[in-house]
Amino acid sequence: MSDFDTDNGTTRDDLVQRIALMEAMIAEGRQYTGRNSWIFVVWGVVDLIAISWQYYFRHFGGRWAWPICLFVGVILTFGGKMLQRRGQGYSKNDECARVMSVWGMMGLALGIYVASGILTHFDWQYSYMAAILMMIGMAHAISAMILHWRMQGLAAAIYWAGGVAILAFNSGKATTAIWLFEMGIVMIVFGLYATRVEPNHSRATGVRA
């Protein structure tokens, strides 16, 4: 029940609603990862296909599994971003630019690192694979700190734990299992989780004048 009315008839409940509306809209304007989290799902699927191809269908050109899948992943990412920009509105802010920079440079570093590994045939080494997980974990950790997002911090910890586990177990079977889990399952689950956060939030905040 309202315990006061302002001159224009605004009640306490109206004011509380205004506060809630402001909080919801400020949070809405700061949703970035959800907007781009489909990329995690794409790369999770790409990685799963590449790993399965390399280990379980190696007689069907298994040597080309990673180069082909990575190329397809890059095409899908850039194509998807272009389609996304066409259909959606545009906003720009510092936090978004920082997060985009982190992931963009991580992607570039990873691309150079993976290409070098393939070309020099060092890509089978456990430390090489552990380093990739550590790099992805680092990008998640920086992004989590910028966005103050605990879930992403947890994702970073999982990737780092995976990198340490590869080095600790130092075996082919363990590395394959960890790699499948981290690069496939964790990436897809995190991507789907982040994708769900933004639409659910958006649906709850329709506003009329």
Partner: protein, 98 residues
């Protein structure tokens, strides 16, 4: 009894408050983004943006993104001050609850 502070009528409208709250968290945003985030119609959003512009709370810029025209908005320093004053007035009206 202390006098209740007045709420800025330009900001107090729900859609205008939503727009300013969205813009306070970003450097700039285009019309489509604001429309999607607020769930408003083109006509309603356009009318409210005009009121905010006339009050000097937002600045509009028209440009081309490729071949497509793009209308982007950003909050002005006057808009930030007005929103801050509005929040202060709200807190004052609601007492110690916030």
């Amino acid at each position: 009894m202390p006098e209740l502070p007045e709420l800025d009528p330009v900001i107090h409208g729900k859609l205008r408050l939503a727009i300013l709250s969205l813009l306070v968290g970003v450097q700039e945003a285009d019309f489509i983004w604001l429309r999607d985030k607020t769930g408003s119609t083109d006509g309603n959003l356009g009318a409210q943006m005009l009121k905010l512009e006339e009050a000097g709370y937002v600045a509009m810029e028209k440009r081309f993104a490729g071949r497509k025209p793009q209308t982007s908005y950003r909050m002005t320093p006057a808009g930030r001050d007005a929103l801050a004053a509005y929040v202060t007035a709200l807190k004052s009206l609601l007492g110690g609850a916030f």
